[in-house]
Symmetry: C6
Subunit: 246 residues, 6 copies
């Protein structure tokens, strides 16, 4: 390869060696899957792996409360989240939209909604700069995906959203949401074309039980695994179950 690629490890045990050492530095990655497939676990592994090496991480949630996300992670893993947070290596920020009040007119609702979306990216930029973050998680972008109805304008808006993240120089994971029974990769059907990678988590029924898997559907600048990898969530972190390559 003509270009030297700097890699950022994901912290997912057994995963980095399947993507030449990690996500490429400065890449905007899309982590997607149905509900309950392990997206929060994956994202927190990514930030935790950085924090352990002294790289500051920022977890932006657009749908949860900060304490809820933190407790979800603490309940899963034997990690010292509070300690890392105190050292400034981890930060959780909730940027949720407000539901317009019942006395507000339809026109004003549209305005409030529009402002939130235009301001969200500014707030993310501010948070990144204030926290001097190198790794960023935006969990999730599905509100951003459904915010504009027109396919054409929506695609342009998503292009700009990805661009501004890219200009910040951070390595980012955006999470998406795939409704049950739908075969698309995202709510918009658009964002997966704009990001540098698409990592798909799944929870598939096999005989009488379900199994979690991860598949790399795209990863630019990377000679990546094309296998479907089953994984376990252990209290040390997510762990890929090694299968023999055919």
């Amino acid at each position: 390869m003509a270009l030297k690629i700097e890699r950022v490890n994901t912290g997912v045990i057994g995963f980095d060696n399947k993507i030449e050492g990690g996500l490429f530095k400065g890449s905007i990655n899309f982590l997607t899957g149905k509900t309950g497939t392990g997206k929060t676990s994956f994202c927190s592994s990514f930030l935790y792996a950085g924090a352990k090496k002294g790289e500051r991480g920022l977890y932006i949630t657009t749908e949860e409360r900060e304490e809820d996300i933190k407790n979800d992670i603490k309940a899963m893993f034997d990690w010292d989240i509070d300690g890392l947070e105190e050292k400034g290596l981890l930060k959780f920020v909730s940027l949720r939209p407000e539901l317009p009040m019942k006395t507000v007119s339809g026109e004003e609702v549209a305005k409030v909604v529009k402002l939130y979306m235009y301001d969200l990216i500014s707030k993310i930029e501010d948070a990144v700069k204030n926290h001097k973050a190198e790794r960023v998680v935006v969990d999730s972008v599905s509100l951003v995906e459904i915010f504009i109805k027109d396919d054409y304008l929506r695609k342009i808006a998503l292009m700009q959203f990805v661009d501004r993240l890219k200009e910040l120089g951070v390595t980012a994971i955006l999470t998406g949401a795939i409704p049950e029974g739908v075969k698309s990769l995202s709510s918009s059907g658009l964002i997966e074309f704009l990001t540098d990678s698409v990592i798909l988590l799944d929870f598939v029924p096999i005989a009488e039980q379900f199994k979690r898997t991860v598949t790399i559907r795209k990863m630019r600048r990377t000679d990546h695994s094309v296998l479907i990898h089953p994984f376990d969530i252990t209290d040390k972190g997510i762990k890929i179950i090694e299968i023999k390559e055919e």
Copy 2:
């Protein structure tokens, strides 16, 4: 695990040991399935299990009459519903919307509808506080799910709905409705991303008969079973049929 999780038993026989002892305290859980899959049975088991331990339970129905729900439960199970109700350990509240009269204009209809939805959550809050409930069932949230047409606003409204329940500190089960022949987990395709768990009931044709099953599709802060569990409805309560793990 770094975080100590307090558990709330479901009363479903053979189920709690598959979810580390029960739902996590303060969680908002989503119980979903097609019609006739046993949602009312599951919800009443949850409240009955609490009442037997002295934890006050509140059953809010948005679609039935109080006496109908109560009689449905009495007809199924050998439980002393009336006695528990007299002791204040169980309470049934019907919060149904009214159909606007035929003389009302379209604009006024919209207003009446909007008010109902904004008031529903206040009425739930009042009922929880008045009854000092620790366990709450909202059966069902499907009217809430279809109330707003716009995907973006609907998701925000559902976020707020879940949030305000969470702030009440109760452990809650919300029920959903999946139309026959549809593979989604809910009417909105949105609420399952916002709740702490998704418990799916099903009624599936196998050869010449149907079988009821329960599957945990997601449960935060919990190392849960990934099996598809068949179950029976007996007069003692719902009972998971043990299958051998592979």
Copy 3:
């Protein structure tokens, strides 16, 4: 079971013993299926079984002429329909909407349509009271299901429709219509959640022929069969073909 349930036999030969003796008294039941699956046969069995015991039955048709429904039944079964009608034990009432005339404006059409729907339930109530009916068939509710376009308002309207029937104290069967090639249980995808039972008739291709079957998809307050039962239409009535349980 804590609650004593009074049962109303269906007259379908070999069916009542699969539902603890019959539909529960005062229940609102939903009988659904594709065209040609035997809904009229099932409904007339229900009324005929009552009439033979002296229970007055009312057959409301919203789509046919009274004489057509009566002749369809007479052509199928060796029953003395005219005699029972003379004794006042059976009554057929056609409550069909009128198509607005071609000179009427769109606005007036909407008004006429709205009035029909609001009046239908009143007319059903009048017919039940005048005839002192204990058993009621409404064949079909599919016009009611498609009358309102908005999902939210439609569900509320259907809730009220079912409620007012329930308040009459009758045991009722409502019939639905499933278009060919559709996997839902009704036109609205809503009414099946509101009724006390869902009984599904089907006409399924097996090898080079078709077979009629009945399945109970839901029946509140009842420990019902979960088998798919094939049945025949004989001149004595509908007859379940007994199959060996596995």
Copy 4:
């Protein structure tokens, strides 16, 4: 059976003995299928069988020119169409709508369209009375089915259409059209619920060839075959290929 049913033979060789001798007199039958499945052959057999017995038949086409339909039939079968027409036993009438001219405004288009549909039934009534027809074919009703957009009004309009034919006392076949790849029985998904029978023609791929079949999906007042019958189109008429019943 309590009711004596008069039968009208279809002329399809080997078919009448599968439906107790024929369609019931005065019935409105729906013959449906994809393009090229043999609907015109079936309809002309029905009229030809009557004409041979002296029963006057009327073929109304809403989409073709009279001479085209006549030539299609003449090309297929060794029948003396012209002779029967001269004797007044057969009559072909084309009742096609006109496309509004390019200079006409949108509002006027709507008016012209509406008038055509309201007048079509009057013209059919006139043609039946003038020709003293006992058997009527309306090929096809798919324009009638798609004329009204609103599901509710459309169903009412179709109810009236079927009713007025019924009041004429004729035995009628209405043809429908099923687009390729669609599993419904008609364009509207509604008319099959309103007619006395549904006869489905199909053209199905088996291995490397296609096979024509006929199935009776519904036939009121008739103990009909439930087999899928393959058939051939011969110059004597359509001929059911006998298969052994299982």
Copy 5:
């Protein structure tokens, strides 16, 4: 058969003997299939077969430039297209709509569009008369099919389009376009009911390769093959691969 049918050969090697010698004279035929299935090859065979016998042919393209279609054909087949064109036996005419300019208002766009469609048929009539064509190809009618949004008006417009071609007395092939992954026979789902035949070309994956096939789905006045025929495109023309009939 009572009617003597004059046949027009298609020039597709091994095909005419499967349709009693050819398309019937004066018929309007619909040739449809996904992109890349060989529609242009089939159409040009039809015109070339006529030209060789002295019958004048007209190739109307609504989507390509004349020189492009001509070069496509020349590249495929060892035929003297230029020579036949000079003798007046073949003619290529491009009748493409213009995209309204960016300065034009929405209302004017609608007008320009409407005029094109009303004029297209006139231009085809002029071309047929000027060229004294006996065989006509219109490649494709898919713009005509999607021009009107309303199902009812669209069907009437298509009826008129087919009618006016029929009145010209020519034998015509209209080509359609089936989008990938769609099971319909045309863009409109309507035109296949109005033409005298439907000839379906396909390109189907079998194991690790694709195979071209032709199937006759309908052909009025013709006892046609019901087999699925694979074919090759050779420099002499399209050639059906003979398969053994079962």
Copy 6:
């Protein structure tokens, strides 16, 4: 073949011999596939193969930044992109639309959008002429495909887009985007009918891994392979894996 076709090699190793030596000179080709199937690799091979022979190539990206596309290519292949760019044999141009600012009204948004689309083709023409390009890649046309909502106008707009490229005399590859789980060949379902070829890339699950494949679904003026060809992305370029023809 009567017409001598000049060929333009694709540079994809082992591919040109499957299409008679290459794309035909002056053709507009459509390269389509889901995200992550290798479209950028294919396009850059095409330009690189030309540049090595002294044919000037132009890479127009409508969705990425110039440096990102260049780095993606450099990371994959051992090619001297910078050197070729300095010699003027390769050029990368980003022509992305701007998202209208939040203060702009809806009407102005529509105007800005419309202008971008009308100007895009002019800008492409300018870039081709200024760079004297013989080979052009437009990656991607999916924004062009979704820009107009009306099917009819959209098809005309796409016809003009393809035409103006054709008039430039270049050999071009346009890339499309197929959303996951969709079986169409493009976003519009239209453009594949207008281009000279359709080359489909795929990434298909086989057992526990994914495999990249290329299939030629259409190629005018070319006797092309009909096999599904698996391929590898190596640091020398894309390489077809030879499979034995059956």
